[in-house]
Amino acid sequence: MNDTTVARLAAAVKRYGPLTALDGVDLAVRRGELLALLGPNGAGKSTSVSLLLGLIRPDTGRAELFGLDPQRIEARRRIGVMLQSANLPPTLRVCELLRLTMSYYPNPRGYDETAVLAGIADLLLRPYGKLSGGQQRRVQFALALCGRPELLFLDEPTVGMDIDARQKLWAAMRALVAEGCAVVLTTHYLEEADALAQRVVVLGQGRVLSEGSVDDLRKRVALTRIRCVSDLDATAIAAWPNVASAMREDGYLRIATAQAEAVVRRLLDADSALGELEVQRAGLAEAFTELTRDAAEAADADQREAA
């Protein structure tokens, strides 16, 4: 650890009965960075966030917030939080919720500034319970940033928002990061991580599967997929230069490559009867699916070996 780390998990393990939610996770959030936490449901994203917030304690390993136990109020005075689901009191007005939350912090952001930054200036006098789902999320975002936090936890912040609201939230997050605020973002939306994150940690089965920049993650599968009907031998093609893999599946020849143009040219030369050619670029989504599927298969294999 160096002193730019604002929050971290060290070999954190958390079990719920027979279920291991986190299986030795190391995670460090650095000052001023936007870290995206990706993973399918049940991968351990929420558990990781809960540990960092001090809502639960690790069975073994450690969780730290600014070098302190996350349950210490001194540490939490430097964070802002937007949880996945929180039923705030429906009869309170937005301005009352905002003033209440601001009162918890030693040096909160200005009231008007917060309202403008979160895009809730028009909602301040409305009771929280009368707002739409997307509007409620915006209010929760305002509550998260009103304390002028050094570290912001956003758990699935844009769920239920329309495209316009999502764009505004993204802009606000960028503004916060520009101010030097670190953000831990968990999300299902890969384009969100793609658009915002400097670093991406992929969780699966309670472990860290990959950690690096968005580009690193993309490079892991910066491949193009080729599918066609052809009699060519898959094993032979697999040996071609620039071909990552080739196999026959459901009557189709499937090839993964980083140099689609060259491979397609050679394919067409080699088999004039080749048909149904399809070329598709693998996105971040596929990278992610691949990564988590590999982990799931590996876990299955482990279990079979153990059995």
Partner: protein, 263 residues
Amino acid sequence: MQTASSTTASAAAVGMPRRRVLGAYLEEARSECLRYLRAPGFLLPVMLFPAMFYLLFGVLMARSNGADAARYLLASYGVFGVMSPGLFGFGVSLALERDGGLLTFKRALPMPPGAYLLGKMLMAMAAAGVVILLLLAMALSLDRVTLAPLQAGALLLTGMLGVLPFCALGMFVGTLIRGQGAPGMLNLIYLPMSFLSGLWMPLPLLPAFLQRIAPVWPSYHLDRLALAAVGMNRGPLLVHVLVLAGFAAGLALLAARRLRRHG
């Protein structure tokens, strides 16, 4: 690593001025009161249920008894009445808010410890005050109970402070049971405990065994105090106050610990 930890820790030690912490407590209490005043559907039944009980059993059913009996019933039903906002106002709202994620959110925020509970406590005290005032109004107008102003005041004070041990009990149950299960569980405590400590029927009318174990129930001790307030109990009071205070502190500590650790 150790040195880095300590530098970040010392930076974090920059605290919050006491005035702002106090302000946070006030804001929390204000919000808690506001939200329930705006949603009377929750607290109104909690206050009206014991009042109705008193009207039916304490006033209408017991008309033929003497003036002493009427005062006795007023005090006992008053205790029964203040238990309700304590157990339900506190316990059920806590159980529901644990379920809905509000409490989790508050625990993640740097809310001063106890501010949330303090707000609920003030609300329960206010509700208890309303219950006693309702009962007093009925007793004085319908039942022609004679009560010195000082006695009425003492009963009101007993009720408003006496709600606190039941807040602690409600809070403890609220930390054990989530959401919709809490009201049932609390009724299972509320009604038998009221009966067993002689709030519905004077203790001497209960079987000897039940009379002997009555001091186990906190409501018994509060009843002793309420009876003293209306001039019906001349025995020592300090022991009852101490039992109630100990009961409240013990349960509140247990509950606070559970809340901090598990939410």
